[in-house]
């Protein structure tokens, strides 16, 4: 089986890799300086200029951060570094949190992007023999076309299924002999339940792997998807501002996602103070693109909370690894002053028997105090016969949530299949704190 897509680069000794990064960083700063007025002003103001005085990688700390607001303020093409004539593709974010952010690609950008995605897919087990169904929504979203081109580059057979129409998705699984699935973790989980319910024997399916992404996937959720579908799941990381998926991805060790460090330079900072943090420390991920031509980004603040390790990985890759994101500074809920990430709650719920994997978080404010309600589906009806088992289930969830979150949460059991299922990014949080109080 193929283990690497670009072995020489993926296993390059760190010294050589860092020398390459330094050379590319200087070139990227100079490129931004000469091709965008936005960066030229910023870099002049910070005293960095065209970057010719950068002597070591840590000198990156003198470059100002770029934020999502910068993308919004210069919407749509203010950060573009080439004339539109050279742009061959435009993508945009889903716009979950406001105006979409735009990404533009030259032919070279598309080529490098598909290399990065191919690396992630090969590391996740995809070969030229695989038939992969892409159940991401197509369109402006980078996920679907990103995976599409990366998988084609490996030589895999791609089915551009897009999301939705679950019956048809399952029909293609069976009829086309699909071996790989590309989807969001929440849609993969939904499909896995649907497959179980559709009633065909598992031998009717040839699925063997899943390349999931576009939202965080806890190890517990991954285990559940793997068990339901009998597949091996790998996770990957990316975002529109950085060009889409392929920025980092799981290797077979699954102990962190390897960055494509020849194209992306990662750092971790303290989100409140902006101070640079060391290896292994949790903080906000900041990424500088080293190869992008159409819309390069210097020190982009991703808002994702993670840590980085440079330890050699048993898989042979030398590129730095990021841990699974603990959440986004955006998704982080502050409840009674406690920082809560939905992924923490998910890890408790998914390991609990008798309830379904779907959940909803409701945050309310009552008498100036925040309350958190966690709604889960009761799926094992046998508990109904014994009241104390139902109570024990609720109490157990409450106690475990308290120990994980350090916060009292009310656990509400609801009927099976009544919580919303998501085909794209899941929206599981209902924050009612801005709304008038209920009686």
């Amino acid at each position: 089986m193929q283990v690497f897509f670009q072995k020489d680069i993926e296993t390059m000794p760190r010294k050589e890799l860092e020398a390459l990064q330094l050379q590319k960083l200087k070139a990227a700063v100079a490129y931004c300086y000469h091709h965008t007025s936005f960066y030229r002003e910023r870099l002049d103001k910070a005293g960095v200029g065209d970057g010719s005085r950068i002597k070591q990688l840590s000198d990156i700390q003198y470059i100002p951060y770029t934020t999502k607001d910068d993308f919004r303020d210069h919407y749509p093409f203010g950060l573009m570094a080439v004339p539109m004539k050279e742009v061959v593709r435009i993508h945009a974010s889903s716009g979950t949190t406001g105006k979409p952010t735009v990404g533009v690609y030259t032919r070279e950008d598309l080529d490098i992007w598909s290399d990065c995605v191919a690396r992630v897919a090969v590391a996740g087990g995809v070969t030229a023999e695989d038939i992969v169904q892409i159940s991401f929504g197509y369109g402006l979203f980078t996920g679907a076309l990103g995976l599409h081109y990366g998988l084609e580059k490996i030589g895999a057979t791609v089915i551009p299924a897009s999301s939705g129409n679950t019956e048809k998705q399952m029909m293609m699984f069976r009829d086309f002999g699909v071996t790989g699935l590309v989807a969001t973790p929440s849609y993969a989980l939904y499909l896995s339940e649907a497959v179980k319910e559709a009633g065909y024997p598992m031998s009717a399916y040839k699925l063997r792997l899943g390349i999931l992404g576009s939202e965080p996937c806890t190890p517990e959720m991954r285990d559940q998807i793997e068990e339901n579908l009998g597949i091996y799941v790998s996770d990957n990381y990316g975002m529109t501002e950085l060009g889409g998926p392929g920025v980092a991805g799981d290797c077979p060790m699954r102990q962190g996602m390897h960055f494509a460090e020849d194209h992306f330079l990662p750092e971790i900072i303290q989100p409140e103070t902006g101070e640079r943090l060391g290896e292994g420390e949790m903080g906000e991920l900041v990424v500088t693109t080293l190869s992008k031509v159409g819309m390069p980004v210097l020190r982009y603040r991703t808002k994702d909370i993670t840590s980085i390790t440079y330890e050699p990985c048993p898989c042979g890759r030398t590129h730095a690894r990021m841990s699974k994101t603990a959440g986004r500074t955006d998704d982080m809920l502050i409840i009674k002053g406690v920082n809560v990430f939905p992924t923490q709650i998910e890890s408790v719920l998914i390991g609990t028997p008798h309830i379904g994997p779907h959940y909803q978080l409701v945050v309310r404010r009552k008498n100036y105090r925040d309350t958190l309600e966690v709604r889960v589906e009761l799926i094992n009806a046998d508990l109904l016969d014994h009241y104390r088992e139902l109570e024990a289930l609720q109490r157990g969830l409450h106690d475990r949530l308290k120990s994980v979150l350090g916060l009292e949460a009310k656990v509400t059991l609801v009927q099976p299949k009544t919580l919303e299922r998501f085909q794209g990014k899941a929206k599981r949080i209902l924050d009612l704190r801005d709304q008038p109080e209920e009686e």
Partner: protein
């Protein structure tokens, strides 16, 4: 010997119970006995109905959490001390009662009582020895 009981999870929300009763009414399922145990969040509705298995399927199709269990149903003489005799007999044999509820028996002049106990066989025997007649589902419907 036993009677099948239907347990249904009912969310404490507007119309939660109505969804269950409507579904059963539409399919002409007759409810003979009913008990509801509730907390602030949800209730568990326990019922003796004429076609328990069919009723369970109907409710499952509506995404309800439903369980079917065998419970002990006995005929109670309709006079003072009728219930006491049964409870005393179970107590003497150290048989704990998880829950119980009474309903009007189709047999004239009698009451019926449903007992949920750990050891149904043993409890049934204890009650029969004490002179209480056990019922099966058909007793409740064939008039």
């Amino acid at each position: 010997m036993s009677v099948q009981q239907l347990s249904v999870f009912v969310e404490n929300k507007q119309g939660g119970l109505a969804e269950v009763t409507r579904a059963l009414a539409q399919e002409k399922i007759n409810i003979l006995a009913l008990s509801i145990a509730d907390t602030t969040d949800y209730g568990v509705l326990r019922m003796i109905v004429d076609r328990p298995e069919e009723a369970a399927e109907i409710l499952k199709a509506q995404n309800a959490a439903v369980a079917l269990t065998d419970v002990l149903a006995v005929k109670m003489p309709n006079h003072p001390g009728g219930l006491d005799g049964a409870v005393q007999a179970l107590s003497k044999e150290n048989i704990g009662i998880e829950y119980m509820y009474a309903f009007v028996c189709p047999l004239p002049g009698e009451a019926c009582m449903v007992f949920r106990v750990e050891d149904r066989e043993k409890a049934g025997k204890v009650l029969e020895d004490a002179g209480y007649l056990q019922l099966v589902t058909s007793d409740l419907y064939e008039r």
